[in-house]
Amino acid sequence: MSTRRSDEPIYWGLFGFGGMVIAFALPAILTLMILQGFGVDCFKLAAIAKTWWGAGALFVIVSASMWHGFHRIYHGLHDLCIHTTRVHHYVLYGLAVIFSLAALVIYASKFFGWCA
């Protein structure tokens, strides 16, 4: 048995936070996006993404959902009898980092108007 303290609190914390975000914010965002698809744009989503608080909120929602999802997959592998190693750890949480950075770049570009 190891004696090293687990670094899981970091990932579990992000997982818990992401779970709360998914439960509360994601259904609202998805509903708004589906409505937008039908031409109902009561909240002007594109305009919200151009404000600092809107871009920030959308970044937090996307990033936290990613951390939540990849944590689930990481531990789900263990439940599927796939013995996880540090490689799985780095690949899956690495993907969460990449998606978070992508969201950061996209929302920053909206906010600063780098693209149309």
């Binding site: 004696t3 303290r5 609190p9 579990w12 531990h75 439940d79």
Partner: protein, 251 residues
């Protein structure tokens, strides 16, 4: 329900000196509405197969000896009634996830060692240690309520038989031991939380649990180990953050 119905019970047999692996032996046992599985096993031992081995003692879900798999579900034999299986058959096997010693008897020493390691007893503070018993350990009913549910554990090992994580990784400290660690950590009379936190915070501690929750479903004493472990995760995460800012606190 009529008196003396017959239940077909298949019991797993394994005698290490003669059997290569466990096999099932069928018995027909007469039962009434109040017949427990433990009584049925004793009927088998008294009248049909005197060599059948199984552990039991109190007959009333207090000692935690008679845990076994009933149709694949871990249960206490004394708390399982044949009437609930009327019209079906019963398959009795030794508690899963533990090595089999003989017939329905398993070797639970791994669980006992883990239980000892988390120090499941009150570790008094330096001030309380020297006080007379009447002074040092006073507790309000409210303080007792906080841990009472988790103190109902009878160490039967049923949660270990139910835990898919323990099945995959025998280093996992496991539901009952982690629950008792949490139970003593939140006891107002205890000062051993820092000592236990080192074990709780390992990968093999609370962090090996993925909150499947089957342990809580099968616990015969409604201890809810899954909840204790999640609360343990919270305590360990808070401790992690505190240690991040105060690394020197480690003794």
């Amino acid at each position: 329900m009529s008196e003396n119905q017959i239940m077909k019970i298949s019991v797993s047999r394994y005698r290490p000196e003669t059997d290569k692996e466990p096999y099932l032996q069928d018995f027909e046992v007469p039962y009434r509405k109040e017949t427990s599985l433990l009584e049925a096993l004793n009927y088998i031992k008294d009248f049909l197969e005197p060599e059948l081995s199984f552990r039991w003692s109190c007959r009333m879900a207090v000692c935690g000896s008679c845990g076994m798999m009933v149709n694949g579900v871990p249960k206490l034999a004394c708390k399982t009634f044949l009437r609930d299986y009327a019209g079906k058959s019963m398959k009795i096997e030794p508690l899963a996830n533990f090595p089999i010693e003989r017939d329905l008897v398993v070797d639970i020493s791994d669980f006992i060692e883990k239980l000892e390691r988390i120090k499941p007893y009150i570790i008094p503070s330096k001030e309380d240690e020297n006080k007379p018993l009447t002074e040092g350990y006073i507790q309000t009913p409210q303080q007792m309520t906080s841990y009472l549910q988790f103190a109902q554990c009878i160490n039967c090992g049923i949660c270990y038989a139910a835990c898919p994580q323990y099945k995959l990784n025998k280093n996992f400290i496991g539901p009952a031991a982690l629950t008792l660690a949490y139970r003593y950590n939140i006891d107002s009379r205890d000062a051993g939380a820092a000592e236990r936190m080192k074990l709780l915070s390992l990968d093999e501690g609370v962090w090996s649990c993925t909150f499947v929750g089957y342990c809580s479903q099968v616990c015969p004493k409604h201890v809810d180990p899954a909840s204790a472990i999640q609360l343990g995760k919270k305590a360990s995460a808070i401790d992690y953050v505190i240690k991040m800012f105060k690394p020197g606190e480690e003794e």
